[in-house]
Symmetry: C2
Amino acid sequence: MRRSTTAATALLLGAATLASAQTYQRLGTCPKLGCVFPPDQTEFLAGQLFDIRLEVHAPVNGSEATNGVPDEKFTFCIQGGNGPCEDATKFFKAKEPALEKWTFQYYEDLFARDAKTPTVVNVTSKAYRALSLAQPGSYTAKLSYNGGGQTVANWVVRKPATDRRAKNVLFFIGDGMTQAMITAARLIAHKSINGKYQSLMQMDQMDNLGHQMTHSIDSFITDSANSATALYTGKKSTVNALGVYVDSSKNSFDDPKVETIAELFRRRIGGALGIVSTAYIADATPAGLCSHTRDRGQYASIVTEYLYNATFLNSTFAWPTSCQGPDVIFGGGAEQFIAGTGSPNGTDFYKAFQAQGYNARQKKGKGEGWFMMSEAASIDKMMHVLDYDRALGDLLELDNTIRASIAHLKEIGEYENTLIVVTADHGHGFDVFGGADTKYLAAQSTDRKKRDAVGVYVNSGLSGYTVAPGSLPNNQTVVFGSEGPNFPVQWNPRYTYAAGFGANPDHRETYSISTKGPRVPATAGADGTYVVNPADNQAGFTVEGTLPTDEPQGVHSLTDVSVFANGPGAEAFKGVYNSIDIFFKIADALALGRTDGT
Amino acid sequence: MRRSTTAATALLLGAATLASAQTYQRLGTCPKLGCVFPPDQTEFLAGQLFDIRLEVHAPVNGSEATNGVPDEKFTFCIQGGNGPCEDATKFFKAKEPALEKWTFQYYEDLFARDAKTPTVVNVTSKAYRALSLAQPGSYTAKLSYNGGGQTVANWVVRKPATDRRAKNVLFFIGDGMTQAMITAARLIAHKSINGKYQSLMQMDQMDNLGHQMTHSIDSFITDSANSATALYTGKKSTVNALGVYVDSSKNSFDDPKVETIAELFRRRIGGALGIVSTAYIADATPAGLCSHTRDRGQYASIVTEYLYNATFLNSTFAWPTSCQGPDVIFGGGAEQFIAGTGSPNGTDFYKAFQAQGYNARQKKGKGEGWFMMSEAASIDKMMHVLDYDRALGDLLELDNTIRASIAHLKEIGEYENTLIVVTADHGHGFDVFGGADTKYLAAQSTDRKKRDAVGVYVNSGLSGYTVAPGSLPNNQTVVFGSEGPNFPVQWNPRYTYAAGFGANPDHRETYSISTKGPRVPATAGADGTYVVNPADNQAGFTVEGTLPTDEPQGVHSLTDVSVFANGPGAEAFKGVYNSIDIFFKIADALALGRTDGT
């Protein structure tokens, strides 16, 4: 924000106070009563497709109450650089969209929620579909309403790279993976002698290191859908949204869309596309590549969008780009494929894939290169249930996968052609703070005495996970590094690491691995709120949570996450930047921007 | 560790199990009964001074019990490369040191501690003082004892840079500063519009980003003394140690020393030296530059070592290098200067500085450049007491100091000559996990209901700290970035960030700033263990701690910390490396290594 002495700007700041920091917001990206999507500060790749949604709000009650009648005669113009502000229909050579109307409700704060006194907002709206801006530079989008009100969105079309540097892109996402977790994984899987690691994580050895900021467009903590949207489209959005900005209408499929890196790669280059996840394939991180919905829970629609464009199942709005059936899809989630309540229209969706030739398919786009996203999803899923061991295990499997992928790329002669990027989509407030003597902990009879089993500072000791529990057969020793497993030799040493979150549900702690399967730390008590799961960690001490009592799991955190990159275009990933910049850096390595209007 | 099929190696691994992961260790760097300092894996700058300490242990009782008589006839030889193993007196042209003997005790585990059954260890020892290795390459140090036992230490002298690239070094340490804290500081002090920051931290904008691993030599969690030793000497050590390895003797000043970057800079170049801290000047992070003691609490000795070498006050052993009176010392801690129990020998130590010409002193080493360390100490001190606001405030002051320093260096024409490095010495397991409605929290009457004030994900909202609480005078707006304060506009908005640690003492939480001064979260209860401080955060909800009940504060954590660097030699700070590498990178930028035996 630049210095300004106008009263109008000061008022804008004042108005922003009301909505910006609230637990509940009327519409996060829209502090004023007129809303423009894409909102102020949006940046585009030249030629990237996007929808525009305009809304005018008329709150019926609450702190912003009006007469309740939203303006139906709002106008919208676009100004390129210092040119005139042209009506959007003229500027984009688009038809005037139909006026839409709806009403929504929200709570202004937690007191209003407890009192069940929602604020009602009447809305008028229009939407322009599948537009693009080809010329790099600055644009100003102006929505005028209520006889003098104006909402201005400043947009920038970035100057695209013209030389394609990477033939292939291999994009690894460790879901929820922070630097604290990478450090802990290194501790339990790599041998250190007197403070010197004898082998390192593959991530540690990559050529370029960066940090990216994961926050949402309208809240400082993100979820995986929203952050996938940022990474894949270059647009921050709202929690739960995939490939769209979130408007205030009820329909989960009419929100303004933006084109993803996968759609651009298909449309511009026609290269091969691969999507791999250890989660179900309709989960947010894989889904973000091809889906357009404000609701990440629309699993049936999401798998439909792998094959068809967004208009196929739910949307009545043109969206002339899609993933066109990825060449590789690996993931869980048979629920969306076996005919039933979870599958698209209840059909056998394996058959839909077979009909597209997925049985014996020729590789598409051979010679044009490929884009592959591979997700380690259990880092996040196991951190959510405080099952640190399984989370770190998945992180180590990701690291070993990266190592094996590099070896394979070298073997097939594609390593020099391939941009490899490894990052996360958000954090969890995890860190190791000491060691724990699990034998001592189990032998104590009170919670306070059990806590005494934790050793801090010098008493944290060293990693017991890299030391074989007894002598190994054939006098073998444990090997780490490029030859080795790069995995703990044992998961349940007497002296374990002690770790935790700043934000927990009620739970019990033993600092030992959950041998019966992933943890369920909290379960619903008599009043429906979450309390310690009576079956979990029965020998442990109780940790009363800090989270709202309707939250059964840990939650995401704010911290910047690391980015590691190798290969052509990888040096652009050094330094500190926003999550959306990852999209632009990959798009530039592939030269996906076009200034010719295509 | 390389693959090996010898039984001896397998046994070594087995033996390491016993000592390596324990809460209490006999001597962390010494899993066998013979100990060599510097231990296995040590790396040296060519010509860096160091002591050697040898010990042979004879446990009287416990799991490693012997006849209790330690070998007095142990031998010690050094092998350079593939040459012969020469007796150390010959190799170093040193006199045979006198044999020393002592006894120490330790607990093998927490059960032994509770039962008050220590293990007694008798020791024989020798120490060689102030040696150095000039030739780059590998060395093997072999201690032979007990008629066949052997402890081997592999040492490496790194090939030093011969061209000096940096005239000056400006080394900023944010004590305990993690990336999660930098992210939180950015949130509260820089304005974001729709997810795009309008200004950034100075750290964010530096040219080179790295990560360093902070663990100790003998435990995975470090303190600030030990980590200062790693950063300043290139040697990992033990918690509480400054510029020495920790031996098992009682004397806090006879432990084997290593030369620091400040001593080397004085001895090799004679440039100007500056030491600045927001802590007392005898605190670990400033002290590490000039001090040599296993006990960071020896404040009087520590301030003495700023002026004189380590033999002046306490040590009877030659140490022919020192900081020689830094040109600039800024810090707190009058207790060590006003004549009294805290000052060296009870004297007025201001006078000792005056006698050295500190009143109207000529600048030393003019033209030879300067080395300056500047520490933001309250990040750590305030994180320890869970006073996140003050910790982040100090972090922001550090960032603003870096910005001002860069501007000043440009102004005086020294920016291009100056290597600037910004890093931390360890972490705290802090992260922001949501927002909190402090008004709602205060209005609730039960702890569980108060927790409900926390908003996670989309309900975390946006930063209220960058929004002025009302309209500003003269229609001014708030400016961030290079012109602005880069500090919160208000510290106590209704909607705050909610943050925490995985490791806490018992405390109460309101997520509001502590307006009466720094927090004291826990105080001793009737039985001497720590419970909630009755005076702290009385309107908050209780969080029962996870730490041992003798711990009144938060503790350090494992996470790698960030490194930001600009200037000549700064590109070496990219990527992921060990804390000790910082010493070598700075030494190489200054070309402090010498292969000519000086």
